[in-house]
């Protein structure tokens, strides 16, 4: 095994002895100094997760979160120097982490917080002018054949729990007590200008937005939305998207805007 391989293994597994090729110039036990490196690795990665998952942390408390994140670090260390992206597999880890089973919505809150980080750093894309969209929609003879391209920050999540309400309740101090998390809620995350915004939406809107993101034309996207929820309200959903600068391109078969 190479020196760096041995070093890496010993850093990630706390029960491994420190590599034998190391020494301290004062004769101190190398393990007592190797602990600094091991602590740097673990605490910096746990801190990165704490920053990316603040409500997940609040739901279980600092001590529990750090222990859970520490096990995640050992199982799934980063595979890229881009620490902004670290933790993509954290929600799936939480889902299977039995000690967290008493907070059944924890994994979905983590999924939701990951979408917020992604939206924050997502590519910039100039939205279409709101008036221009309305005019284009009104002047369109074959509305159903229209394709909309959405801002790169847009993402949705279907949850069996009130994931948006749980998250929102943790944005202000105090009063969380009355919240019942055990009802299904879907989420929309987007960035308008520099600000990440979140909305509770219905499953029909999720199907509609996901369809548009796949390049599906308006008519078929509405059909998919109505299959997901008979209560889907196209006007309301479009108003939400237009009002938050989420539409960046409109394509009909003849012309493209912009």
């Amino acid at each position: 095994m190479s020196h760096h391989a041995a070093f890496t293994n010993a850093l990630l597994a706390p029960d491994q002895p420190c590599p034998g090729v190391l020494f301290s110039s004062n004769g101190a036990d190398p393990a007592s100094r190797f602990a600094v490196y091991r602590n740097n690795v673990h605490s910096s990665l746990i801190s990165a997760l704490s920053t990316a998952y603040p409500v997940t942390l609040q739901l279980v408390g600092d001590e529990f979160f750090r222990a859970m994140a520490g096990l995640f670090v050992q199982t799934c260390p980063p595979t890229s120097p881009l620490i902004n992206e670290y933790g993509s597999a954290f929600a799936a880890f939480i889902q299977d982490f039995e000690p967290a089973a008493s907070v059944p919505y924890l994994a979905d809150v983590a999924r939701f917080e990951r979408l917020r980080v992604r939206a924050y750093h997502a590519a910039d894309s100039q939205p279409l002018d709101q008036q221009a969209i309305l005019q284009a929609l009104q002047g369109q003879t074959d509305l159903g054949k229209l394709s909309l391209r959405l801002h790169p920050s847009l993402a949705t999540l279907n949850s069996s729990y009130a994931v948006v309400a749980v998250w929102a309740a943790h944005q202000t101090e105090g009063a969380v007590a009355t919240l019942n998390p055990r009802h299904a809620q879907s989420a929309l995350v987007l960035r308008q200008g520099l600000a990440v915004k979140v909305f509770a939406i219905d499953r029909g809107s999720v199907a509609f937005i996901d369809s548009l993101n796949q390049g599906i034309q308006l008519e078929m996207a509405v059909e998919k939305a109505l299959q997901a929820s008979a209560e889907f309200d196209l006007h309301q959903c479009l108003t939400l998207l237009i009002g938050h600068d989420a539409i960046t391109h409109l394509h009909s078969e003849q012309k493209v805007l912009p």
Binding site: N26, P30, Y37, P77, P152
Partner: protein, 292 residues
């Protein structure tokens, strides 16, 4: 009416190299304050990896701040000392960032942080032997030819040594600089931390380096622990004010190097901007003394 001749003054943000002033690490919590108050700071430094994102507030604010200040781009993830080849994708991302922001300086560390697929998010120590020297020099050659500019290499803070090291750290660094033509980012806090940890004299360590290659200085705070013998073990944590011993060493460095761009680093327990600004002013004070 008098006509004024157009004045062709160079904006401070466009100077060719980092000014011989104190600079600060740019923290996202200070973006708006910096833009609103435009403090008198020599330059800002950012960690390259934080800006390897597609869009959003980080690029928005860095773009605006870059219009006003010189910039140092400091990498923390290239793993120049790694046993395997450099991550070409990462190097390409660095080239893109450099193209976008045209920083006055690019620097990285004498350390490794990746092995195989795993990135460890720490600056890990190297054995100082001939094979490692060849590898590090080849990696630095590759960085400099890809980025089409010389880089600065930062001396590490370390807690342990390798039994198979055959060179002193200072000889190892000197050989890299001689062979690759890169510059030295002299981290005075790292010198102090490593010298206390390895029972060396910080000034003789500094005197053993090719000081004419110094292109930037770093100053930071350390944490203090003890090892199994109860001896002082200093930890480079960038989480405290600069220690008096490090300020004193800095003053002695400046008498040897003359004025050099000096960065105040603080990455943990980041205080209010004015606290960091005061440390920058203190460094500017030392710099103006050697300017005379």
């Amino acid at each position: 009416m008098m006509t004024l001749f157009p004045q062709h003054t160079v904006s401070p943000a466009q100077v060719p190299g980092l000014p011989h002033r104190a600079g600060l690490g740019l923290k996202n919590e200070h973006f708006i304050e910096v833009l609103e108050t435009l403090p008198d700071i020599g330059f800002f430094e950012v960690h390259a990896e934080n800006y390897m994102v597609d869009g959003g507030p980080f690029h928005h604010y860095l773009g605006l701040i870059r219009e006003q200040y010189p910039l140092s781009l400091h990498g923390v993830g290239l793993s120049i000392g790694g046993e395997g080849p450099l991550n070409r994708e990462h190097l390409a991302r660095l080239a893109t960032l450099i193209e976008r922001y045209q920083p006055q300086s690019f620097s990285e560390h004498l350390a490794w942080s990746s092995h195989g697929p795993v990135f460890l998010n720490d600056l890990l120590p190297l054995a100082y032997d001939a094979a490692t020297l060849d590898r590090v020099c080849a990696h630095i050659d590759q960085v400099q030819s890809t980025l089409k500019r010389p880089m600065l290499l930062e001396n590490p803070s370390t807690y342990l040594q390798f039994q198979h090291s055959t060179l002193d750290e200072t000889d190892f660094i000197s050989a890299i600089i001689r062979r690759t033509g890169c510059g030295l980012l002299l981290d005075v806090n790292n010198v102090y931390v490593s010298c206390i940890n390895h029972q060396r004299d910080p000034l003789s360590y500094i005197d053993a380096l090719p000081l004419s290659a110094v292109g930037e200085i770093h100053l930071a705070g350390f944490a203090e622990d003890t090892d199994s013998l109860g001896d002082r073990l200093l930890i480079d944590d960038h989480g405290a004010p600069i220690d008096n011993a490090v300020w004193q060493l800095y003053e002695q460095v400046l008498t040897r190097t003359g004025p050099v761009a000096t960065l105040i680093e603080r990455d943990n327990q980041v205080p209010a901007f004015r606290v960091l600004h005061a440390e920058a002013q203190q460094a500017d004070g030392y710099l103006s003394q050697v300017n005379v």
